[in-house]
Symmetry: C2
Subunit: 331 residues, 2 copies
């Protein structure tokens, strides 16, 4: 099963994407379809050793820029690298599509081209967070800002399937993001959905969890609406980024700090790596008819490699079929 990679996406340009994808191909024995401007891809591949690898190129003349309105861009550019990579999945030539491009456009194009899985009310964007003890799947990140309770329950089911498929967790724990741990805490939506999740014997529901515990690995899945999920994720990103800026500033204040800080460079690099969720395999779009992995725009080659690997694992495990089965009526 080939993996289709949007070669044009990402803040660092096609070179990083192609390098990461080829590394994944070699390390995990993945067959690649690179989608984008073929001359650009050809010239990048010419510089890379690809002996023994199966790499195809699908030409896509158009690219969607980060500042375009997603739905409009998808309609106006039917030959974008995003849409053409999704067509590879749609038409059965690839088992998954991976893009570090415009995430809104990838979501819109996935809906338009692959469509929703039967029974799914709204697809959700999840992220695999690195935690102190492993990984946690947080969703939704903004696909559905005002979900109905029934949609949030579906998010829990879809994330449960992803935790099983991608991380081999048999009976993943599921929590609800809230403004306090007590069952009485939460906004109207949380208070409405809490008893529903608790009564559902097919879900291993553990109750509410607070923002401060998102990275502590206390739950395999954390469910929330797309507004709060987006704010939680970006608040953490922002805090870590500002923290890093301040550390850098403090470490370069004097020669007495610069010297030991230099000695600690590998340690700082390790710290950053352990908190970079781009390195845990990107963000799966759950609920569409096909495997779609959205990598962070600022992904480096290592993060791209992991995202391609995540796409392959989900495809090999037939993620969309399992989501459909999990959401099928039990009667």
């Amino acid at each position: 099963m080939r993996i289709a990679v949007d070669a044009m996406g990402g803040d660092h340009g096609p070179s990083i994407v192609v390098t990461g994808a080829v590394n994944a191909a070699r390390e995990f024995g993945i067959e690649l379809t690179l989608v984008g401007k073929s001359d650009v891809i050809e010239s990048l591949l010419a510089k890379i050793d690809r002996t023994g690898l199966s790499i195809e190129i699908v030409n896509a003349e158009e690219t969607i820029e980060m500042d375009e309105a997603p739905a409009m861009a998808v309609r106006r550019k039917p030959n974008s690298s995003i849409s053409k990579a999704l067509l590879e999945v749609k038409e059965g030539r690839a088992g998954a599509m991976v893009s570090a491009g415009h995430s809104g456009a990838v979501m819109a194009a996935s809906l338009a081209i692959l469509g929703r899985i039967r029974g799914v009310e709204r697809p959700a964007l999840a992220v695999v967070l690195p935690t102190l003890t492993g990984t946690t799947i947080l969703l939704d990140l903004g696909a559905v800002t005002d979900p109905k309770p029934s949609q949030l329950v579906q998010f829990a089911y879809m994330a449960k399937v992803y935790a099983q498929v991608a991380f081999g967790k048999d009976n993943p724990t599921i929590s609800l993001l809230s403004n306090g741990e007590e069952p009485s805490k939460g906004n109207q939506l949380v208070q409405e959905i809490f008893p529903i999740l608790q009564a559902d014997t097919r879900l291993n529901f553990k109750g509410n969890i607070e923002g401060k515990d998102l990275l502590r690995g206390r739950s395999d899945v954390i469910v929330t609406d797309g507004f709060a999920g987006n704010i939680a994720l970006k608040s953490m990103e922002g805090a870590v980024s500002v923290f890093s800026d301040i550390i850098r500033e403090e470490m370069t204040r004097s020669i007495w700090r610069k010297l030991p800080a230099f000695a600690l460079k590998p340690a700082f690099k390790a710290v950053r790596g352990r908190l970079d969720y781009a390195e845990t395999g990107g963000a799966p779009l759950l609920g569409v008819n096909g495997v779609v992995i959205i990598a962070h725009g600022r992904s480096d080659a290592f993060a791209m490699k992991n995202a391609v690997h995540a796409g392959q694992r989900a495809a090999a495990q037939a993620l969309p079929q399992k989501v459909r089965e999990a959401l099928a009526p039990t009667e």
Copy 2:
């Protein structure tokens, strides 16, 4: 004007609270009323040099523990240190009340004892965030999880007044926390309130701001509902705390890291201090008939000193009267 301090509140016990309050009294010429078990307070004061300071003690036999249900605890313990400190404000013997105790109980007791300012629909809990360039007031943090648009507008007005009163910002910029900067982004509440804030010529509205920019000092005031605000704040706290844990782990992995890390101890301490919002003066409860400052439960003496100072500044500037004027009908 005296400042009433709940001497029993805070994770570190009365000793830290009293030390911080006395330091504030000395540094800023503040007259103190310490409220709590008088024998405990007496014995703590006996160990501190208080020459030239005006410190009164108000005995409060009861204390509210962190695990009690707020409204119930306030009703069942009318002689708690929280309620008796608020009575000092209510009855005009103190200009402000400061507590590092159970924040839910402080909110409930403030409503019960001080009441809402005329015209205020719902009081809001704000926090003064330290940013790369100064301070930002973020509210609400959980007092109102499902606010109506009109309540969110009031939050903006109240925070504007606090920015003027506490930080001397004449015409503070105001932003709306959202899942994207574009005016089209947001959940229903944000999309409803955006045009209202934009049309209000008395507010210096700057549009949407994302979670990643909360600590970048891009806005003097950031308004959001209590659910999202709580999640944003705690997500940042959690990320910084996990980041610190990982740094500590990485820095002690080998002797080659331990040595330079030891040399950088002052730098790490400076980093933590610059991101600790306890040090910017606690969280004002806006919209009640009196100045109430809620300090973080884990406040140290330095944070308590700053919270007491913030209470004094707000009292001296007649914060509640200015909130009332700001919310008075303009017709």
